[in-house]
């Protein structure tokens, strides 16, 4: 079982869990829940984008996939989060 502990996938998991806890605490302690908070939003959306790419790259094994699949999935992450952040700032 120690081989699984040292597996790169387990390290990715530890990273994903750690940043999930960071965004959990950011949202929980990030000031009044009823107020728009740009810092909290930018932090949690940035963390979500990084997590999405980590899952795609390591768990879905896209890092070993052909270029078109790497480009399509990375394009999804970039376009989605650009639109999310864009609509958010446009609405402020």
């Amino acid at each position: 079982m120690t081989t699984y502990l040292r597996n790169p996938l387990t390290i990715v998991w530890a990273l994903l869990t750690a940043v999930t806890v960071v965004s959990w605490l950011t949202a929980r302690d990030g000031g009044a829940a009823h107020l728009v908070n740009v810092t909290v939003t930018v932090v949690v959306l940035a963390i979500a984008a990084v997590k999405a790419q980590l899952v795609i790259w390591h768990f879905m094994e896209v890092r070993r996939a052909p270029t078109w699949l790497r480009a399509t999935t990375a394009g999804w992450v970039v376009v989605l989060f650009a639109l999310l952040i864009g609509f958010y700032f446009q609405s402020l």
Partner: protein, 190 residues
């Protein structure tokens, strides 16, 4: 892994047809995510007040549950590929266990919400919340069935179907991926 090995093994994990389904799903959910953000921008106050009624702790625990389930499924896929079938069965089994915890925890969210009078008809936030998490939950349940088939194949087939394991795992990781975004949009952002 060396660069040579990476290039040599560059191939689509699992059945290519599953990837069309995965990419299609990502685009469909992506449209919902962007629409949600657009409508949220029209009425920050409504969305923030409604969001404050969600159970952030269950949402966060469920995120970690899905990430952990994904890890075991990924390790199980690697074990199946390496030919250590007993390990693969055990790892997929643990992944299935964590995965099954997700709908159970979701019940602890939905039931108090609905009993408390919150439904999709309450307002636009809860319409998005119930529709998007409901559609995602259907994906979770289907994913659990798929993972069960993978385990059955690993246990009973004379030669385990590695492509099936990879395909099932890919679908399951997509379920995890969609939740990560949903969690940020519905529970975390302000």
């Amino acid at each position: 892994m060396t660069a040579v090995a990476t290039t040599a093994r560059r191939s689509i994990p699992g059945a290519p047809s599953m990837w069309f389904f995965v990419i299609g799903d990502l685009i469909i959910f992506g449209c919902y995510f962007v629409a949600y953000m657009y409508y949220r921008g029209q009425d920050h106050t409504l969305f923030l007040h409604s969001q404050a009624r969600l159970n952030l702790d269950i949402g966060a625990i469920n995120t970690i549950v899905l990430i952990t389930s994904s890890l075991f499924v990924a390790l199980g896929t690697a074990a199946a590929r390496a030919g250590t079938v007993t390990d693969a069965v055990r790892l997929f089994g643990i992944g299935l266990g964590f995965g099954a915890a997700f709908p159970l925890l979701k019940l602890f969210e939905y039931v108090p919400e609905i009993v408390g009078g919150v439904t999709p008809g309450t307002n636009l936030f809860f319409m998005f919340y119930f529709v998007m998490t409901g559609m995602h939950l259907c994906h979770v349940l289907l994913g659990l069935v798929v993972i069960s088939f993978v385990i059955r194949n690993l246990r009973t087939a004379p030669t385990p179907n590695i492509s099936l394991a990879e395909t099932g795992a890919t679908y399951w990781h997509m379920v995890d991926l969609l939740w990560l975004v949903l969690f940020a949009l519905l529970y975390l952002m302000r």
